[in-house]
């Protein structure tokens, strides 16, 4: 839940990039760090393990300017995608305001996407949050691999697998080149701010 600091007139919200291992969550944040220099307010922090895999989280702070005289700060996080780090994912999710679910378009990762989405739902439930209610954006990453002849799932199939019930905004992306990264984040920020408006009853 967003933190309101009335004394400093600050609002801090947390967006978490979730998804299976090696789907491109960190690559999303790296691209944002590189591209949205004006909005990025600090260094990107990454805690990696062997093979450049995220061990704890990546962290990137951003500023969105002022709304109603309050500074809006956004913290972007990624979770470790590997199955065995479930408790770390749960820890990172604590206090989350919105989620970007990064799905891997590679056909062979179909089941991993679905398991990760289920894991997200379960972890949210433990914080009394519903995957159907929290601001959520779906990103279908690695679309560029089709050019290399790799077997990818069609968007229709991914929508059917992951977004049939959720019906949240979804975007195709190639995080490595940055395609679709900005638009995913912008949509997520839009949903987050809308949700904040509801919480604070801003008009």
């Amino acid at each position: 839940m967003a933190i309101f600091n009335l004394k400093n007139r600050e609002i801090e919200c947390k967006i978490v990039y979730y998804g299976p291992g090696r789907c491109g969550k960190t690559t999303n944040l790296e691209y944002i760090h590189k591209t949205f220099k004006k909005q990025v307010t600090g260094e990107m922090v990454s805690v990696n393990t062997e093979g450049d895999r995220t061990l704890y989280f990546d962290f990137l702070p951003m500023g969105l300017g002022q709304i109603k005289g309050c500074d809006v700060r956004v913290q972007l996080y990624t979770v470790p995608g590997q199955v065995q780090y479930r408790s770390t994912r749960k820890l990172v999710l604590m206090g989350v305001d919105a989620i970007v679910f990064v799905a891997d378009s590679l056909e062979i990762r179909r089941e991993k996407n679905m398991l990760s989405l289920k894991d997200l739902q379960d972890n949210l439930k433990e914080y009394n949050l519903s995957i159907f209610k929290i601001p959520l954006v779906m990103q279908y990453n690695k679309r560029d691999l089709a050019n290399q002849g790799m077997p990818l799932m069609t968007i229709e199939q991914m929508e059917h697998d992951l977004n049939r019930q959720l019906k949240v905004p979804s975007f195709e992306a190639s995080a490595l080149s940055g395609q679709g990264v900005g638009v995913t984040l912008k949509e997520c920020l839009k949903l987050t701010l809308k949700s904040l408006q509801k919480q604070t009853k801003w008009s």
């Binding site: 922090v45 061990l55 962290f59 770390t88 820890l91 790799m150 077997p151």
Partner: protein
């Protein structure tokens, strides 16, 4: 597609998966290539090709092994520890409970040395002293040894920071853990009216431990597998709210295999310093410990689902 083209496509896929870090997927493709080559008589240079592919598989196996060996907990730089403290201490009612939450966050992220330092500093604060002490004991149990935990208690006993009420609370907590571990060592008793600080409250018992009693051990009756019907007792090494962490020796292979993530445990007894109660739980996580004295053993997280 002719066989040559088929193999070429598969190699391309296998290489890309490997570059993406999808090692198991890459290995599956290489094995498929190997079977294709083996079963096809028309392929020229069969032996050379097979040797090349086998080398690739061995290299991938090595990478997988390296990943498996990588520690699941690492000591991060102080700057990142500060970030963890700041960002993962939520809903703190005041400065002291905020500091406790920050230190607990450090422990949860495996930053035990720094967490211990922070908890030790918090022993100076009457309001959170017992919570800090219990967390020091938990850190010792997870990160160091039982002897270290006992030594901490003895040190507090001989000092004048703790009141009798506070020491009794810590003693009961530690004593219960020792008993469940089958360690017969008797903890030195707390003298009555130990110091003037005896007015120090034990109200800290009610401070932020997420409203769950401290569970020192649990007894699980298995309902399936080769040990069906057997009641097994485990000490709780770490507790975070309703999640209990246990250590299972790597020697208990069949038990480890039987206790899979997602398995519901409907017959569980929870032992706390003040009561024993029954309930159910679910295995939330199973991780092999990569470093330290318990390297090779398994850490099992059980989430309490209900209690009677």
């Amino acid at each position: 597609m002719d066989i040559k083209q088929q193999i070429k496509t598969l190699i391309q896929e296998a290489e890309l998966y490997r570059n993406q870090g999808l090692l198991k997927e890459s290995k599956i493709k290489y094995n498929k290539i190997l079977s294709l080559i083996k079963s096809n008589a028309q392929i020229k240079n069969k032996e050379t090709l097979m040797t090349g592919i086998t080398r690739k598989i061995v290299a991938i196996d090595n990478e997988i092994l390296q990943l498996a060996k990588a520690p699941s907990v690492i000591e991060v730089p102080e700057k990142i520890q500060d970030l963890i403290k700041k960002q993962f201490a939520f809903a703190a009612k005041d400065e002291d409970s905020g500091a406790i939450e920050g230190a607990i966050a450090l422990a949860k992220f495996g930053q035990f040395d720094r967490a211990l330092k922070e908890f030790n500093l918090l022993l100076d604060k009457d309001a959170v002293r017992v919570v800090a002490a219990k967390n020091i004991i938990r850190c010792c149990m997870t990160h160091a040894t039982v002897e270290d935990a006992v030594a901490e208690y003895e040190k507090w006993l001989s000092g004048d920071k703790f009141s009798s009420i506070q020491l009794n609370s810590v003693r009961s907590f530690l004593g219960d853990i020792l008993a469940k571990k089958g360690i017969t060592q008797t903890l030195s008793p707390v003298p009555e009216n130990k110091s003037a600080a005896d007015q120090g409250s034990a109200a800290d018992e009610e401070l932020p431990e997420e409203d769950y009693l401290d569970i020192s051990a649990i007894k699980i009756t298995l309902e399936d597998g080769p040990q069906k019907g057997k009641a097994l007792e485990f000490d709780v090494n770490f507790q975070s709210g309703n999640v209990l962490s246990l250590i299972i020796s790597c020697k208990d292979k069949s038990l480890i295999e039987n206790l899979d993530v997602g398995l519901k445990l409907t017959n569980v007894q929870f032992f706390s310093p003040i009561a024993i109660f029954e309930g159910s739980g679910i295995i939330a996580e199973k991780t092999q410990i990569g470093t330290g004295p318990k390297s090779g053993d398994y850490s099992l997280d059980i989430k309490i689902l209900s209690t009677n």
